[in-house]
């Protein structure tokens, strides 16, 4: 069976600095895959390469076996790749509903329409509201997103990505910056995601990683150090050395 997403020998250089070196990764349908590594390992760069924000210097990205390496970001999105951002990328002046509406309207190809009111697109509004309800955001639908507490803003970040109905979802530290009292909201939402979606999650909290992921890739200095199931990674001496042991003791 071909993987939903497959990365082959991916390389990226910023000038003389290699930030991705021969990265290989395969996500089957419904994968729960974690990407870990110290700061500056190139984790977000890899997300940018997969989504098309950056073009690789060499290598291939395959979606259901089709080469998408040359496709622009918008085209990859239409094929079912969605992401969230480590630092919120929201439409801050707009309401929560409008934030999600935009993503739904783009997917349903309603957003080029000029001559009817946005609210007349019933299907788009229904879907957007359904998405908000699924993440328990419906009560805040009409609030400007910038007025929300940070934890709930992180949920909107995920709601926008889910509104794209992705088959591949890349979560870049979904709980980053969220106070620990609220982080369970995010993690519950992530845990309850559609089992058919292939998910790649970047996360620093090892407890979350070991609970959520069935496979883990360790990235160091732009290259894959090792990949395997959680118990194998947990026991790996090299991984311990990279993390200086500190975060691993919690796990």
């Amino acid at each position: 069976m071909t993987a939903a997403l497959e990365i082959k020998n991916l390389n990226k250089n910023f000038g003389a600095l290699p930030v991705a070196r021969d990265i290989a990764l395969a996500l089957p349908k419904g994968a729960r895959h974690a990407l870990i590594g110290p700061n500056g390992a190139g984790k977000t760069t890899l997300v940018n390469l997969i989504t098309g924000v950056l073009r690789p210097s060499a290598g291939q990205i395959l979606l259901d076996g089709d080469d998408i390496t040359a496709l622009a970001q918008a085209a990859r999105t239409r094929r079912g790749i969605a992401r969230t951002f480590q630092i919120n990328q929201l439409f801050r002046g707009l309401t929560v509903l409008e934030n999600v509406y935009l993503a739904v309207a783009e997917r349903m190809r309603a957003s080029h329409r000029l001559w009817r009111p946005a609210g007349a697109e019933r299907e788009v509004v229904d879907e957007a509201l359904g998405q908000l309800e699924a993440l328990r955001l419906a009560d805040d639908a009409l609030r400007p997103v910038r007025e929300l507490p940070y934890g709930r803003q992180r949920l909107v970040e995920i709601a926008i990505a889910l509104a794209q109905r992705p088959r591949i979802l890349l979560l870049d530290e979904p709980a980053a910056g969220v106070p620990s009292s609220e982080s369970h909201l995010i993690l519950d939402a992530v845990g309850a995601l559609d089992p058919d979606i292939a998910i790649l999650i970047i996360e620093h909290d090892m407890e979350v990683v070991f609970r959520f992921a069935s496979r883990i890739t360790v990235l160091v200095a732009g290259a894959v150090l090792t990949e395997g199931p959680p118990q194998e990674i947990r026991a790996d001496e090299r991984v311990r050395a990279v993390y200086l042991g500190q975060e691993f003791r919690h796990g």
Binding site: F85, A105, R116
Partner: protein
């Protein structure tokens, strides 16, 4: 059981309110009649100022076209006069060189010419943003003006093309000395195009413009063809600016290369900032205040009237960042809060 019923009801309520918000926000409010009532009233109150009045109305239209790209899509331009000028010269050359004197079809051709220019220049320039875009739009307009100067035989250069003639409006209403017909003509054109812009702003397309203004990176991430959307709105705005320019030519019966002046691009930007960008009616308030101040102060103090406009602009950006209309909205909110028991 009872508790969960209550939560469900609250959820449903929120959903209904959200649906109602999107379904009703484009409906006309009572205050929206105000500028139109005032515009019609001005016709009866200042019958001898209608020539000036029609200039105010066409500047409102020009400012409205800038609002569409600046206020809604967040495109900063210092060269919007390019499209105003192209429309103005299209209307002039149609009658002078083409012998086409019918005014309404002249507006349509002017809109088409400006739209083509908007689409072509937008396709190239809108790959850039911010300061780069500002300089590029400015330079493009200066180049157009110089091109007009080079082809002095056709454009009349800075001396302009005076004494243009047009057939009576709708074949019936001839232009009077006081500009009464011109005023109503400009008002009718403004009304039609204003309603078109208003419809666009509240459409799904208008929503994506707000998305691009608020966070272009996320728009790319949700698969929006951002460049295409920007070029589309830029083209529409160019067409409307072209109509404003054609109205300028038709109501004044002359045109000079001054329509491409930096003053014209900057003036319309100042009007919009004064009135409040991104709120449709800001174009009204800004253009009216700017034009009336200019008209009045330039009589009182021909040398220093710009100082007063400058001072007003400084005060606006310092104390009323959302323009005079934003200030009025805040005042009304305060008033409404005070009224509540």
């Amino acid at each position: 059981m009872a508790a969960s019923d209550v939560t469900a009801a609250v959820g449903l309520d929120a959903r209904d309110r959200a649906r109602a918000f999107l379904a009703t926000r484009h409906r006309f409010g009572i205050f929206e009649a105000l500028p139109w009532v005032l515009a019609v009233a001005a016709f009866f109150v200042f019958p001898d100022r209608m020539a000036f009045g029609s200039q105010v109305l066409l500047m409102v239209l020009f400012a409205l076209s800038l609002d569409l790209i600046l206020g809604f899509a967040g495109i900063v331009s210092l060269g919007h006069a390019a499209f105003f000028g192209l429309g103005a010269y299209t209307a002039a050359l149609l009658t002078l060189r083409g012998g086409w004197e019918e005014p309404i079809s002249g507006l349509i051709v002017a809109a088409a010419v400006a739209a083509v220019a908007g689409a072509a220049s937008g396709w190239i320039l809108l790959r850039y943003r911010g300061l780069t875009l500002l300089v590029l739009t400015l330079a493009t307009t200066i180049m157009l003006q110089e091109l007009g100067n080079l082809w002095r035989d056709v454009t009349g250069g800075y001396d302009g093309l005076p004494g243009l003639t047009f057939t009576p409006l709708l074949g019936h209403f001839d232009y009077d000395l006081y500009g009464h017909v011109n005023y109503l003509y400009a008002l009718a054109v403004l009304f039609v195009l204003f309603m078109a812009v208003r419809t666009i702003v509240y459409s799904p397309f208008g929503q994506t413009l707000a998305g691009i203004r608020e966070n272009v990176a996320r728009m790319h991430a949700i698969g929006s063809p951002v460049h295409l959307r920007l070029v589309t709105v830029y083209t529409i705005a160019a067409a409307i600016a072209g109509v404003a320019g054609a109205l300028f030519t038709q109501t004044n019966q002359y045109v000079t290369l001054g329509v491409f002046d930096f003053d014209n691009s900057a003036g319309v930007l100042v009007m919009l900032i004064l009135g409040g960008a991104g709120r449709l009616y800001g174009a009204f308030i800004g253009a009216v205040i700017y034009m009336v101040l200019q008209d009045y102060l330039s009589k009182v103090s021909p040398q220093y009237w710009q100082f007063a406009v400058g001072l007003l602009l400084v005060l606006t950006v310092m104390f009323a960042r959302r323009g005079l209309l934003g200030l009025a909205e805040d005042a009304m909110k305060l008033f409404a809060r005070g009224k509540r028991p």
